[in-house]
Symmetry: C2
Subunit: 440 residues, 2 copies
């Protein structure tokens, strides 16, 4: 089907070639960004009802396009070994009927979330009678860079459009055909719902230089959100001329306090480390108070062994676990993303806090304790996006913390911190209603 | 008094020399930033009472140091003509007894503002029993760059410390001796109140390269706030590796709608343009609906003339004001910061919104109208930090909008928009209280 992409696909030749001259690439990225800016202006004036209608239409469209999506996905699957993808990565890339149903349901769930643009944030009446409100507004244009799972294409588009933002999606080359097919449904349903087609655009060239070109366009793009490995985030941070919502690494700690319930501590440690070791909110380091180390380590040891966790501990840990490797300074700075746990004995809560202050990536830390004072000190002193008491680090997640869905987890302190949902994709403006007031 | 700066002034030799080698400068800026980071950790754990005690102590200290401040200020005043400062700039630089009293009172006013770190932003209980709160936390370390008025030194320090942030102050070279004397009082009173001395540091070299060195330190400095001319802001934006709260230009519009009360419109236009023409929230452009132009221009013309306002209008404006120069495209893009007004006739509200969308710097715009629908359309469609109805653009100011005091006005949409007061100097973290929950 030579005309599958339709007459609007003027950029099909861009997609077809990865050896564009920089001029052509600059023209392409500028055009995409200008279209996004134009669409964002229109989107900002749409109603919640219109935006939700689109989410339902897109969900239906994706279900209806199941056969096409699977066909296009097959092209990516076929090419995947050539990109060096392993079996697990190929599995994540795969679209099945069930996964397409999930993908569609996720859009419908976003439709049920409260409109972040509704109502006022606050309102006050000034002594001179001016009524000063703050209302939420979309950030504008989001440039979203992500890796190979094609479901992210639909998720990110849903969150951006629901919050009134236009989005430029730059997915991984491994999922290009799947993403193009999903994007086709999203665009067509946008138009059918009276929303601007360019509210969701997919970058159709896999040329890495395209990312650099978009990162220059700070007058057209309001924020860049990279989601992927550390190299990607570092490159984007270095090159971006606009704000970036960064999602750096998670070196997360479980601290077992002197007053810990050790059963809870064992269960929280195992869950934080093992439930999904490859993600950012998995724990990397165990800190144990010296007064409970003799009871806690024997209690939790067998399950760590059974789950295949490799421990790298300090000398005092190795008194109880002689098979543990000796942890180096570098171990405490490492996000393993694997079944490896660094461990250290501390003599006080203060020492635990100091260790975290030195080595944490300020993502998520948890204290296990029945002592309210210790819990208060820990939550006050530890400066991470989420500080937990008696709960697994794995709960630092948009869904789990009640944001509904997230586009990423910010490890910055600026604008948004922790999970970024719909509200975090907005800014605000002051609306000031007077009766002719002037300043004296 | 050779030991005036006291034994802690190890960097006095830095201040004394503007020809430091880059190595020495890097060492100096890194040390200052490390000290700030350390102080910020301590500050984050202080109570509101302590921080307010300091504000009062600093106010008393400044009053007590009046004679010294005036002596040191005299050194700056003496050097001022050599820096090319004109009479108005020299006047802004001058400290008098009355101005020192005002400076002290401003600190006491900051003490009366609500603690931005108090309480919780929100709290929810998740279905699994986790109690999820968000609490405000300081941003950390603020690098604040400003120009010659010495009162800004005390104001900025007050806002940063009250919000739990450490600040590195980089004032203009023209105010160096005044700033050093003010800073001495601030540091001494910090120590006396049990707060870290390095919570407020003043950059004691006037070497411009120092700014560049600080802008590299993104792991130590959380945010840079430049306040000054466009060149400064552009340089900082270009070089900064950390987030920047930008305060770009204000190309602000007054739109006189078809349904305007023309007396109100005249008074709002005169106030917006003339009350203080050199500031960012002064109006630069008048848009008048064609249906009222024949009544409005004759009404407001004499006062504009009397106040010495030069008008640059389009052809339709010049039918009524033949003495007006013809406005060029460039006029509509210019922040005059002077008694100059560009003016244009529009045929509809939509045309006014389009003009603003094209030419505004998205700082402040106002509509004068008695038509609620027009007011709603204008406030919905215009994407500026403050959108006013029947009020002077001059009200876009922290004090006037009820923030108490401001460290700047953000023209960005990211993190904070419009006036930035205490709350805008904070971030937040999630505090999650569980009873042993793990993720399934």
């Amino acid at each position: 089907m030579p005309d599958f992409w339709g007459p609007n696909r003027v950029d099909i030749n861009v997609r077809a070639s990865n050896t564009l001259s920089m001029d052509t690439l600059t023209e392409y990225t500028t055009r995409v960004a200008r279209q996004a800016r134009q669409a964002s202006r229109q989107l900002a004036l749409t109603s919640e009802i219109q935006r939700n209608q689109w989410l339902h239409a897109a969900a239906n469209g994706l279900r209806a396009a199941t056969a096409t999506l699977i066909t296009e996905n097959a092209r990516d699957l076929e090419a995947a070994p050539g990109y060096g993808l392993n079996a697990a990565a190929i599995d994540r890339l795969r679209l099945t009927e069930a996964r397409i149903r999930d993908l569609a349901s996720a859009l419908e769930e976003v439709a049920t979330l409260p409109d972040p643009l509704a109502g006022e944030i606050d309102r006050k009446v000034r002594p001179n009678g001016l009524v000063v409100s703050r209302v939420r507004v979309p950030l504008g244009v989001v440039f979203f860079i992500y890796e190979s799972r094609p479901n992210v294409t639909a998720d990110a588009a849903a969150l951006c459009v629901k919050s009134g933002n236009a989005v430029i999606l730059r997915g991984g080359k491994e999922a290009l055909h799947s993403n193009l097919a999903i994007h086709r449904v999203l665009s067509d349903t946008l138009e059918a719902c009276g929303l601007p087609r360019h509210a969701v655009q997919l970058v159709e060239t896999t040329d890495r230089a395209a990312v650099g070109e978009f990162l220059k366009l700070r007058t057209l793009i309001d924020v860049t959100i990279p989601r992927g490995g550390k190299d990607l985030i570092e490159r984007v941070t270095r090159e971006a001329t606009m704000p970036v919502i960064k999602h750096f690494d998670g070196i997360c700690h479980v601290y077992v306090d002197a007053a810990a319930n050790l059963e809870k501590a064992a269960s929280i440690l195992i869950n934080s480390k093992c439930q999904r070791p490859g993600v950012c909110n998995a724990a990397e380091t165990l800190l144990v108070h010296a007064s409970v180390v003799d009871k806690f380590l024997p209690l939790v040891g067998p399950e760590l062994v059974q789950r295949g966790v490799e421990v790298r501990g300090d000398a005092r840990i190795r008194e109880y676990w002689p098979n543990a490797k000796l942890a180096t300074e570098q171990d405490y700075r490492t996000e393993y993303l694997d079944l490896i746990l660094s461990a250290r004995v501390v003599d006080s809560l203060a020492e635990a806090i100091d260790h975290i202050d030195t080595y944490s990536s300020h993502h998520t830390e948890t204290i296990v304790t029945e002592d309210t004072t210790a819990a208060r000190q820990f939550t006050a002193a530890v400066d991470s996006s989420a500080v937990m008491v008696n709960a697994s680090t794995r709960f630092n997640d948009g869904g789990e913390l009640g944001l509904g869905a997230e586009i990423g987890i910010s490890t910055d302190k600026f604008h948004a911190r922790g999970p970024c949902g719909l509200v975090e994709l907005t800014s605000y403006k002051y609306v000031v209603i007077g009766t002719g007031q002037i300043r004296g």
